[in-house]
Structure formats: structure tokens, C-alpha cells
């Protein structure tokens, strides 16, 4: 069916046009209607409104509908509610979700997990809803903003009589004198009120703050930037949220980055009894007041991905990391999360003692990891044959290590030198005094060849023992998408301000045979517009009460 969309003024309008694009005459309505005009998008057709929509047009129309957009938003909000019932998988450092929900919440928890609601915000349907909202934002905006822009940038000054009388703010009354002169006189007071005034004979159009009409579309652009930023946050390298241990005094590689972090010094201070309230003292809890990691961040400059070479590091930043005061290097952040004050042996520096003469030979450094393996001490040579970090004997009576942590380190040496057998003599050494007694170092050495009566390894003072005193647990975060998220939100804010604090006001007037007709339209604040029109008419010596201008109706 082909509809006749030609207006009586001769303008050919598009399908779906409500008000003639040229003269503003309402189309497809009864001529005698007194109802207020539908002024949305200035009565122009949305782009998607077509006479014979095909498949693509139908998809386009679906997303261009505000109704659909509202439903999408409602569904998304309802979906988001489900994600707040129980804690989400992504919020926790480590637990097994397949059992966690059942153990904690019973059957409901299990159902919750099985429905996939334990990761609501990463589920396909939630992401699909977000994508559809994004599509709706783009298409809705494009469908409306372009025709509106066109309509507002080529407005006809002389509008159809019905267009004026069916506005929400209307005045009609006689004026004295020549129509064209009256209109010329009206320009000045309107300009004073900040309007841009255009005249066409005995017709006039005054307009101000048109830019506020773009507010909603600016908001949409902001939201699209925001959605895209959130979407691309998942790209590798843009987002990282992990927790790692950093032993004091060690340079630790941060996986998936080219950064290394040294925990230079970790300190923890507790609240003293005096600082606590009486009630709290009763609970017997010890609460840390401060925990701080003095961290040095290094960037790898060469030989980074090659495990056969030592990476070349360059210091890039130093920071004392405290709770809520992370280290921040170009979007890489390290937050204080936890700590462990269990000391770990790093190295000892024993001397070799001749038991009979009391003579001491050298002092050598014995690292717990990657120790040097050959030592020359006076006339003796020591060859490190084996080491056990957590010494124990297995069922067959063989020495083993129970873990890789130096809880009970033991070192097996082959000692050669004067008065010793040609092929050397074996000697086991426990750096910790407690282990020496517990595992009976002397008894073992007796079995190994009795070297303990001639030679002993001994640590002279505590200064020869090096501990990793504590470890700091840091939360490593990278969120490179955040600046884009903030940019998006900033654009949204700009759009909101544009649309909220300014209004697009227009006043049309025409004089026909000594009768003045005024129509006024604003995007909001009708009260303000009525007052402005009344004050303008007063300046033109037309007395009218503000309230009389109201043409009734609720259409905006």
C-alpha cells in the first residue's frame, strides 16, 4: 500500500512522519482535532520507519524500539539480582565451587551453582543481554538523532496555523499596526532573552539552547564507550587479579608480566593493650594496626622470557605498600592482602672446626636453594653431595625431604683432606640446633664414618644465620580498561548535565490580518517557558496572564 505523504504545502514527507517536515501541519489526523501535538523528534519519521520493511529492517526496527530497550534493561536488572543472592565465584581467592555452595547453603546452594548463577555476570545470557542493550543504544540513537538533527537544522519559519495552536503554550489575540513591523520589533526583546531569532515576513521563529537536545545521545555514546571498555577488559594483558607470596628480601617474578617485585622489608605493628577499648580487650584478639611491605618494582629489560639466562632488571619504582595504599606503576597495582610471619632459613655461614685442636677453617656460605657445591677450607675440601630441606627417614630408612620448605635442612658433604681416607669421608650437617639433637647428627655421622670426632661444622653466632623473616601476600591487579570506563562515565555525566540544566525552547509566531498567534515549545520546564513568553508579550504591550497561555494536556 502506498500512502500519500504529501502535505498541502507541497512538501513530500517520509513514511511515518507525524508533522510535515516543512510547515509543521499535522498529517494523518482529523483537521478539527484540538489535541496537543506529538512533538517528539519534531514529528519527523525515524530512520527505520519504512513502507515495506525487509528482514534487515525488521532486526533494525526491533532494536530501534524504546519499548524493547526498556524490557532489555528490566531483564538485565532482574538477571543482575540473581548474582547477588550468594557470593560469586570470581570474588574469592581460591575455593572449589563445585562443593562450596552445597556445603555452605545446602540444596539451594547446589541448585544455584548448577544453574550457573554462581557466575551470573560471566554467563552467556547475561553477556548477551548486555550486547543487546549495546545494540539497542547504537541503533536507537542513530535512528532518532540523524532525522532530528536534519529537522532542527532546516526549520521553516512560517509554520502551519494548526502547528502553533496545538502547542502546549499558545496565545492568540489582536495586535495593532502592520504585521511585518510588529515582528521586527519583537526581535529585540527576544534576543535579550537569549534567543536566536529568525524572521520571514510576518512570521518569526525564536530558539535557544538547542544543544540540550543532544544530551540523551551524548549519554548513549558514553554508555557505549563504557560497555565496550567492560567488554574488552577480558582481552589478555588488560586485566589481571591474582594473589602471590613475596618472601622478604627476595626478588619474585610476577607471572604473566615482565615485572619483578622485591619485598625489601615487611613490618607489622599490633594494637597494644592500652590502645584497645575495654570491651575489645576482653575478646582477647590481636589486631594489626599497620602492615607494610617496602616494595621495589623492577622491569625486565633483557633476557626476560629465557629461563636459561638471568633476566636483566631495572628498578622502576619503590613504594611502601599498606592497606588501601597500593603500589601503582602505569596501571599495575599491588595491594597489601595478607602476611605470614613464619621465619624461613635462607642461608647459614658455618666454619669447619678441628675438634682436637679447636682450630677453625674459613667461613662459607651455605644457601638453602642453589648452594655452591665445592668449598676449600684450609687443608680440607668439602663437596656438597646432597641436601634435604625437610629431613626425614622413609620406611626403608633412607633420608628424604618431606617438603621443599627448609623446615629441617640437612646437608651431606664429602670431606677430603689430611688424615682422611683417600676417597673422602661423608659428613651430614644440620644447621638448626634442634634438628641436630632430634635426628642425632653425631649418631648418623658415626655410621657414615666417624668424622664427627675429628671435624665439625658449626655456626659461631646468630649473625651468621640469615632468615627470610616473613612473607607478604600481595594482590596483584592490572586494569588497563579502567581509564576507558571512566571516560565513558564522564561522557555520560556530560550528557546528563546538557540535558538536565538546559532546555531547548522555541517560540513561533505569525500575524495574519491583525491577529497574533504564538506557539511555544520546550523540552522541559513549561512553567519557565510560559513565564518567558508572558514577559516577552508584556514587553510588546500585550497583557496576558501566564496561566492563560497553558493550552492544557499532558503531552510534553
Amino acid at each position: 500500500m502506498i500512502k500519500n505523504t504529501k502535505c498541502e504545502c507541497g512538501h513530500q514527507n517520509r513514511v511515518g512522519t507525524v508533522l510535515c517536515e516543512a510547515c509543521g501541519k499535522p498529517l494523518d489526523e482529523h483537521a478539527d482535532s484540538k489535541e496537543l501535538l506529538e512533538m517528539r523528534y519534531d514529528g519527523v519519521a525515524r530512520r527505520s520507519q519504512r513502507a515495506n520493511p525487509n528482514f534487515i529492517d525488521k532486526i533494525w526496527n526491533f532494536f530501534s524500539s524504546v519499548k524493547v530497550a526498556i524490557y532489555l534493561i528490566i531483564f538485565t536488572l532482574i538477571g543482575a539480582i540473581f548474582g547477588t543472592i550468594f557470593e560469586q565465584e570470581s570474588n574469592f581467592v581460591s575455593f572449589d565451587p563445585s562443593t562450596f555452595y552445597k556445603d555452605k547453603y545446602g540444596t539451594i546452594g547446589d541448585i544455584y551453582y548448577k544453574l550457573g548463577l554462581s557466575h551470573t555476570y560471566e554467563s552467556w545470557w547475561f553477556v548477551l543481554l548486555l550486547v543487546m542493550i549495546g545494540a539497542s543504544l547504537v541503533i536507537c540513537s542513530l535512528d532518532r538523532v540523524l532525522p532530528l538533527y536534519k529537522a532542527l537544522s532546516k526549520q521553516k519559519i512560517r509554520k502551519h496555523m494548526q502547528f502553533l495552536t496545538r502547542q502546549k503554550v499558545v496565545y492568540q489575540g489582536p495586535v495593532e499596526g502592520n504585521g511585518e513591523e510588529w515582528v521586527q520589533q519583537a526581535v529585540k526583546p527576544l534576543k535579550k532573552k537569549g534567543y536566536r531569532v529568525h524572521t520571514d515576513g510576518s512570521a518569526l521563529l525564536a530558539e535557544k539552547q538547542r544543544f540540550s537536545r543532544w544530551g540523551p545521545y551524548v549519554i548513549h555514546i558514553g554508555l557505549i564507550v563504557f560497555l565496550l571498555a567492560v567488554l574488552f577488559r577480558g582481552l589478555p594483558g588488560l586485566h589481571l587479579d591474582k594473589h602471590y607470596w613475596f618472601p622478604e628480601g627476595e626478588i619474585t617474578k610476577i607471572p604473566d608480566t615482565n615485572l619483578y617485585l622485591k619485598n625489601d622489608k615487611f613490618t607489622v605493628e599490633y594494637y597494644t593493650e592500652e590502645e584497645m577499648s575495654d570491651d575489645f580487650r576482653g575478646t582477647g584478639k590481636i589486631v594489626p594496626k599497620l602492615f607494610e611491605t617496602k616494595a621495589i618494582l623492577y622491569e625486565c629489560t633483557a633476557d626476560c622470557g629465557d629461563p636459561s639466562k638471568e633476566p636483566k632488571l631495572k628498578e622502576v619504582q619503590q613504594h611502601a605498600i599498606r592497606v588501601n595504599d597500593p603500589l601503582n606503576y602505569k596501571g599495575f597495582k599491588a595491594y597489601q592482602f595478607d602476611f605470614d610471619l613464619t621465619p624461613k632459613l635462607r642461608s647459614v655461614q658455618p666454619v669447619l672446626v678441628n675438634v682436637e685442636t679447636g682450630e677453625q677453617y674459613g667461613k662459607f656460605k651455605l644457601d638453602m636453594t642453589n648452594p655452591q657445591q665445592n668449598f676449600t677450607l684450609g687443608p680440607y675440601t668439602l663437596e656438597l653431595k646432597n641436601k634435604f630441606m625437610d629431613f626425614a627417614l622413609n620406611d626403608q630408612g633412607q633420608p628424604i625431604s618431606k617438603s621443599k620448605d627448609p623446615n629441617a635442612p640437612a646437608f651431606l658433604f664429602l670431606v677430603k683432606g689430611p688424615d682422611l681416607p683417600e676417597k673422602g669421608s661423608q659428613y651430614i650437617y644440620f644447621p638448626k640446633q634442634i634438628d641436630k639433637e632430634r635426628f642425632q647428627q653425631d649418631a648418623i655421622n658415626e655410621k657414615l664414618g666417624g668424622l664427627q670426632n675429628k671435624l665439625q661444622l658449626d655456626v659461631i653466632g646468630m649473625e651468621d644465620v640469615d632468615f627470610i623473616e616473613s612473607s607478604s601476600y600481595l594482590n596483584i591487579r592490572i586494569d588497563r580498561a579502567m581509564p576507558y570506563v571512566w571516560t565513558g562515565l564522564g561522557i555520560v555525566m556530560l550528557g546528563l548535565v546538557m540535558g538536565f540544566y538546559w532546555q531547548h525552547r522555541r517560540i513561533w509566531l505569525r500575524i495574519d490580518d491583525g491577529v497574533l498567534t504564538v506557539g511555544g515549545h520546550t523540552s522541559k520546564n513549561w512553567f519557565g517557558l510560559r513565564r518567558e513568553v508572558a514577559s516577552f508579550l508584556k514587553m510588546m504591550n500585550v497583557e496576558v496572564d501566564e496561566k492563560q497561555l497553558d493550552n492544557g494536556g499532558n503531552r510534553s
Binding site: 549495546g134 541503533i139 629461563p307
Partner: protein
């Protein structure tokens, strides 16, 4: 009506579809803990081997790889070592590689241990526990069986004995 509109419409719709597929795809695949599962490609590794050279999984392309995470302090790992060594001897000429990844111990410990047990399959040092994290290894030992197409055929947590190991490798060679 504007002639340029139809292509613009189509371009925008295609753009939205691509973004949507990408977003949903990454949400579904990346939604898990990132632990490799059966049928996945094993995470890439780049580790120093006992031979002093850097090794990656790429080297074993086209071969079936048995990736075993172990440590000298883990009793079950120690127990299954002879079985791994025996199967390495048996299957190595049929395109099967046994790859032992030591988790965070130093060179001396590993070398002493392998010499003592007479192990000669390739052993790599995972000094910083990077592979352990990428593979999501929790209990030790954990063994990943990677087929010749480069996909994880099965994952075994805990000790393997000679028979089950033989059975698993057979399935890798003749799927």
C-alpha cells in the same frame, strides 16, 4: 531515502554480531578458573631443562606427551618414577615423550634424585611454579596425557602404576 543507509545498517549489524559473538565466547570459555580440561590445548610452557636448554611443548609437536608434575619430597611422585621411566623406555621409539616437570626445587636436588633413580627422560625445572599455575596443578603428582594432535586426552591426579600408565599411553598411541 538515502542510498548509503543500507550498507551502513549492514556494517553496524555485522559489527554488533562480531562483538556479541566475541563477548559471549570469551565469557563462556574464559569464565572458568582457567584450568585446562580434557580436550583443551595444553598451556604453553617455556622452561629450562636438566640438559641446560630451554624447552617448549612445540618441540614435541606430532608426538604424544606425558606431562608429569613431580617433586622429590612427594612420596607418590617418587613411587611412580620407576613406572614412568619404564614406560619411557618402552614407548619412546613410538613417538611418546615423557616430560617430567619438577615443581620449584633446585638443580642439585633434582640432579641427585634423577641420578639415583636412573631417570633419563627429559626433566624441566619449573622454578617459579609458573607451569604449575598455568596447569592448575593442586595435588601431586598430576599427569597430563597429551595426544598426537596436541590435545589433552586425560588428566590423572595421584600415583600412577605401571599398568594404568601403560593403558593410558596405549590409548594415546592408538586412539
Amino acid at each position: 531515502m538515502g542510498k548509503a543507509r543500507r550498507p551502513v545498517q549492514i556494517v553496524i549489524l555485522i559489527f554488533i554480531v562480531i562483538l556479541g559473538v566475541y563477548a559471549i565466547g570469551s565469557a563462556v570459555s574464559g569464565g572458568g578458573s582457567g584450568k585446562p580440561k580434557m580436550g583443551d590445548k595444553p598451556p604453553a610452557i617455556k622452561l629450562l631443562g636438566m640438559d641446560g636448554k630451554v624447552h617448549t611443548l612445540e618441540e614435541y609437536k606430532g608426538k604424544a606427551v606425558v606431562v608429569n608434575f613431580w617433586a622429590t619430597w612427594c612420596t607418590y611422585c617418587v613411587n611412580e618414577m620407576p613406572a614412568l621411566q619404564a614406560q619411557w623406555k618402552k614407548w619412546s621409539d613410538q613417538g611418546v615423550v615423557v616430560l617430567g616437570i619438577n615443581t620449584g626445587e633446585d638443580e642439585m636436588t633434582v640432579r641427585n634424585f634423577t641420578q639415583q633413580l636412573g631417570i633419563d627422560f627429559p626433566v624441566l625445572y619449573d622454578t617459579n611454579n609458573e607451569a604449575v599455575q598455568d596447569y592448575g596443578v593442586v595435588p601431586m603428582p598430576t599427569t597430563f596425557f597429551v595426544d598426537k594432535k596436541g590435545k589433552i586426552a586425560s588428566i590423572h591426579e595421584g600415583e600412577l602404576n605401571l599398568a594404568t600408565l601403560d593403558d593410558q599411553i596405549k590409548r594415546l598411541v592408538n586412539p
